[in-house]
């Protein structure tokens, strides 16, 4: 088990090296540079040269890369060219927002998706079944940013039921401990702050959770339909077990194995930043930070954020693999 984890972590090294080279080359190939973005289109060549010299951008690419790498291994990704603050600091401020949003979206997707998929399979061929199949097809097909706009327009702008932008009302003077706004509110017993931060999660969370929801419904449904025809379910019935026992121990448990994989992969995807949804709701997570950094040609932020997110993604997948071994004794790693 430990060897498995260590091996997977070692595999991260070549992945990160490759990714950093690609990122570095790709960012520098973008038209316009940080100087242009910072100083505007009318900047004189002299000003641009001074700017580049100041940030070390006049050095050969090779030197720039090595310098970047040397600091990156010490978790120093430099300063944002836009705000001047250290990238790591910005990340630690932004990531909790994305994590909160991901959790909300996944709880929504799992909480609705698994029961719905299970019921659809149980009533195979009924209107509920057809509705869930068509609904999940729509859920996958609707572009997320479109749905996000729609939700915001309807529930925030028109009806005014829920907040449509940001992570918390600006008026609220909340104490920050972990930068998880909901958690901070609970820790400091500032209930209204926690509730307000929570309501800010609802609309982007639902928009973000639609695709995972649709996928979970489909996989649960297909998996339950598969499992009820398995020989071991027949054996369980031949033993005269109560219907509830057959369902719980022999159907649902096995049917959830493929669903668990999906949940893991989707969580990894959402954690790596929902650029579109966060932008629509001006939600201060890593997604909107990347969005802004692209326009500002903020190399340091882009490099730092994307590399850290790659690590997060790999770690989440590692967790999925480990948890899969706990669920299914056949793939238990030694």
């Amino acid at each position: 088990m430990l060897r498995f984890v260590v091996r997977r972590l070692l595999q991260l090294i070549p992945i990160l090296l490759g990714l950093s080279v690609l990122l570095f080359a790709w960012l520098r190939a973008l038209p316009g540079g940080p100087a242009q973005a910072a100083l505007g289109e009318r900047a004189t060549p002299e000003a641009i040269a001074r700017y580049n010299e100041l940030f070390g951008l006049d050095q050969p690419l090779f030197v720039q890369y090595l310098r970047f790498l040397g600091r990156a291994v010490q978790l120093d990704f430099g300063n944002s060219s836009r705000t001047g603050r250290p990238v790591t600091e910005e990340f630690l401020e932004r990531m909790p927002g994305t994590i909160e949003l991901t959790l909300f979206a996944m709880v929504f997707a799992i909480g609705v998706g698994i029961p719905l998929g299970y019921l659809a399979a149980r009533r195979h061929g009924s209107w509920l079944d057809s509705a869930s199949v068509i609904g999940s097809l729509l859920g996958v097909a609707i572009p997320v940013f479109f749905l996000a706009y729609l939700l915001r327009l309807l529930f925030a702008v028109e009806l005014g039921w829920l907040p449509g932008s940001g992570r918390q009302e600006v008026r609220i003077d909340a104490t920050r401990i972990t930068n998880f706004y909901v958690l901070d509110g609970l820790l400091t017993r500032e209930w209204d702050a926690a509730w307000d931060a929570f309501t800010h999660l609802v609309l982007p969370g639902i928009a973000l959770g639609t695709i995972p929801l649709a996928i979970i419904v489909r996989i649960t449904r297909a998996s339950v339909l598969d499992v009820v025809n398995e020989d071991y379910v027949r054996t369980a019935n031949a033993k005269g077990l109560a219907t509830a026992t057959v369902r719980r121990r022999h159907v649902i448990r096995n049917a959830l194995l493929p669903v668990a994989t999906t949940i893991g992969l989707q969580t990894g995807l959402l954690l790596s930043g929902a650029v579109l949804t966060e932008s629509v709701f001006a939600f201060g997570g890593v997604g909107s930070a990347i969005f802004d950094a692209i326009f500002a040609r903020d190399f340091a932020v882009l490099q730092g954020f994307i590399l850290i997110l790659a690590v997060v993604y790999v770690l989440v997948n590692l967790l999925v693999d480990i948890s899969y071994g706990l669920l299914d004794p056949r793939v238990r790693v030694r």
Binding site: D231, T235, A238, G240, T245, H250, N254, D328
Partner: protein
């Protein structure tokens, strides 16, 4: 293949049968398709301690018969007619609750493929104790103790350790033994074994059959053996029903059947078994063709198109539509217009030889 010379079994043949199946029919109805009759008017009975074989090729309806007896066929799209009585209690049309109460307790089943018939994510121990906990008032601890005993009884070494293991950690033979342990947990009156040895090595097959025979003799359980393997029949069954296309076409005691098969199909089954004492390189004797999905009983005899003894009247409707199952000497029944004939020869003629 050993056919004769088995020790006389100690089966108690007296008393009323444990299982009585009368005119059982099973029809599959799918929307937009012709209904298919998989089992058509099958009748047989099994006494305590008796072993009855249902024999036939794949698709002849033997497995469907067993599932119908257990009430394990899906309710939707399947129509079960006739009567199945377990110790006099009618099972056809009985409510699901009643059937669940009987299954696992009074009637149990061992399936063909032990790996797929065990839940891969649940330890063997739980899969054995869950039967006990469902049907008997037992504490978890007592159930575990009984499960250990059961595994020991079916010949699984180190049962306490095996209880904690998962199906994939056991060998094929062990898995089948575990399935048998689950089936026997509540000492059922009736045990149905559906090709229990098909997925196993030959050496393991013999062990499993021996185990089943011991259990039947010891406990007086009525055993229904579903098989296509005449070796299994020879080693285990007291009485044999040969099925073809959903109907019984010949019934006889084991010795009678092997000595003098009357239905050409039975004769063909016996003749198609390769013999160890035969001349090397001698041709095998397969039955030509294969069973059809659609049951063609409406036209006289379903086997006629594949039968070497068929004559013109086998395929025409004479006196009613199909060839009836009729009395054919003491303890025998036969569905055939032109059965195999034997001169009054002394008993003991080898079966396959007689059939040729």
């Amino acid at each position: 293949m050993i056919i004769e010379d088995l020790p006389p079994d100690a089966a108690d043949r007296s008393g009323r049968p444990v299982l009585e199946v009368d005119e059982l029919t099973v029809t599959f109805r799918r929307r937009g398709e012709q209904p298919t009759r998989a089992v058509d008017g099958v009748s047989f009975a099994v006494a305590p301690g008796e072993t009855v074989g249902l024999v036939g090729e794949s698709g002849c309806g033997k497995s469907v018969t067993s599932l119908a007896v257990m009430g394990l066929l899906p309710r939707r799209g399947v129509e079960v007619g006739g009567s199945v009585r377990l110790d006099g209690q009618e099972l056809v049309g009985a409510p699901d609750r009643t059937l669940r109460g009987l299954r696992g307790a009074d009637m149990a089943m061992v399936f063909q493929d032990p790996l797929s018939s065990l839940n891969p994510t649940v330890p063997i121990g739980t899969q054995v104790t869950e039967v006990l906990l469902e049907h008997r008032e037992l504490s978890r601890k007592d159930a575990t103790a009984q499960a250990t005993d059961l595994l020991d009884r079916v010949g699984i070494p180190d049962p306490a350790r095996r209880l904690k293991e998962y199906p994939h950690q056991l060998s094929g033979g062990m898995r089948q033994r575990a399935l048998i342990a689950m089936a026997l947990a509540c000492r059922p009156r009736l045990l149905i074994a559906d090709e229990p040895t098909t997925a196993l090595d030959v050496t393991i097959q013999a062990q499993i059959l021996e185990l089943l025979r011991e259990l039947v003799v010891d406990s007086g359980t009525a055993l229904v053996m579903i098989t296509h393997d005449l070796g299994v029949v020879a080693g285990l069954c007291d009485r044999v029903h040969v099925m073809y296309s959903g109907r019984i076409i010949e019934s006889a005691d084991r010795h009678e059947l092997f000595a003098r098969p009357r239905q050409p199909y039975t004769g063909g089954l016996l003749a198609s078994v390769p013999r160890l004492d035969g001349v090397r390189g001698a041709p095998l004797h397969p039955i030509r063709g294969s069973a059809r999905d659609v049951i063609p009983w409406a036209e006289g005899c379903a086997f006629a198109p594949r039968c070497d003894h068929a004559q013109d009247d086998c395929l025409t409707e004479v006196a009613g539509s199909t060839v009836p199952l009729e009395y054919d000497g003491p303890g025998r029944e036969l569905r055939c217009r032109h059965p195999l004939e034997y001169p009054r020869s002394p008993a003991g003629a080898t079966a396959a030889g007689a059939a040729r």
